[in-house]
Symmetry: C2
Amino acid sequence: MARIAVVGGTGHLGKAIARRLAKAGHTVAIGSRSAENAAATATELGGLDFGANADVAKDKDFVIVTVPWSAQTATLTQIRDHVGNAVVVDTTVPLVPPKVMRVQLPEAGSAAMAARELLGPDVRLVSGFHNVAAHVLDTDALVDCDVLVFGDEVEARNGVVSLVADMGMRGLSGGALANSAAAEALTSVLIYMNKTYAADGAGIRFTGLTKAPPIS
Amino acid sequence: MARIAVVGGTGHLGKAIARRLAKAGHTVAIGSRSAENAAATATELGGLDFGANADVAKDKDFVIVTVPWSAQTATLTQIRDHVGNAVVVDTTVPLVPPKVMRVQLPEAGSAAMAARELLGPDVRLVSGFHNVAAHVLDTDALVDCDVLVFGDEVEARNGVVSLVADMGMRGLSGGALANSAAAEALTSVLIYMNKTYAADGAGIRFTGLTKAPPIS
């Protein structure tokens, strides 16, 4: 079982991820800008560890960052000197309100590449969870959506694919960290489809993969 | 039935699209840089019309452009003064060999937005067909992949979604032309998955859409 911090863990996505990982038996800590905010969520989830982002980021196997695009820089700056050898999992989608149904990738190419610039080359960085609807993830229901994981380090990437499986979903490697742009852009398309095709959490499934893990 | 030109129609994707559209009863013309090249494909497909790209682009309802990224500028330049009120369907994926498994979106944001810059604001422009494996499309088999269509003009976009249905596939609107970046980027991910998960033409399906057309 892994030691996992969910930074920005009081938001909807963070809470949903923390809940599923804790249920799978991992040791999960909730981080927030202030330890007080984190405490409420940690209690709600059955007494998890909690603390300020910088504190929970220490001595972990995985540090999962679940904050809005507007908070990515500040949050990564808080944790970067504390993550050590942990795999940082950035889930940021570069949505720019009010036009969240329109793809607006940042200058770095993607939020993941922006994270790479902020964290420097030595932090083990993976991105993922861009296309999962938080309100569906935050239930025990089957999530009818593959979870794409991107990263330049195979072992780190595979570690996150494995966490996704623990959460009851199919994780798939999508290749290099730069490929995160595809999933991040797709999020705006999915928000558009929720409206256009009356979906309550549209998702994607990959077809034709003969050697992929089975759908849960 | 529509009058349709497939520009760059001697390539694998163009031929496959032309074959399915002709089978559905549309009047299809094959275009190529030279009329001679187009003639061979037109004959192979059962005696379609053919001609140089600029010629076949005239007096059509749809002009579908199926060329590699390296040929997009030259091809669009050949046809832009001839398409008139036709809906131009750009299928270009900005793959940059040799790293075709790596997302490398162009400065304009996407091949579709590059096409917009080249064609100017008055040409009716839609993009689509980025994620369909040409060798699967070029059979009568079911293509287990949704076809995303992007564009800023609803009527033009819906017209292409309807053509996709005629071809035996599920077409879905993906929203604004700028959203084409999502599908274009996804193509590199699919090429990566073909290799990583032993797929022969990986595809995507959208889930949770309660008001989408049925899968064929």
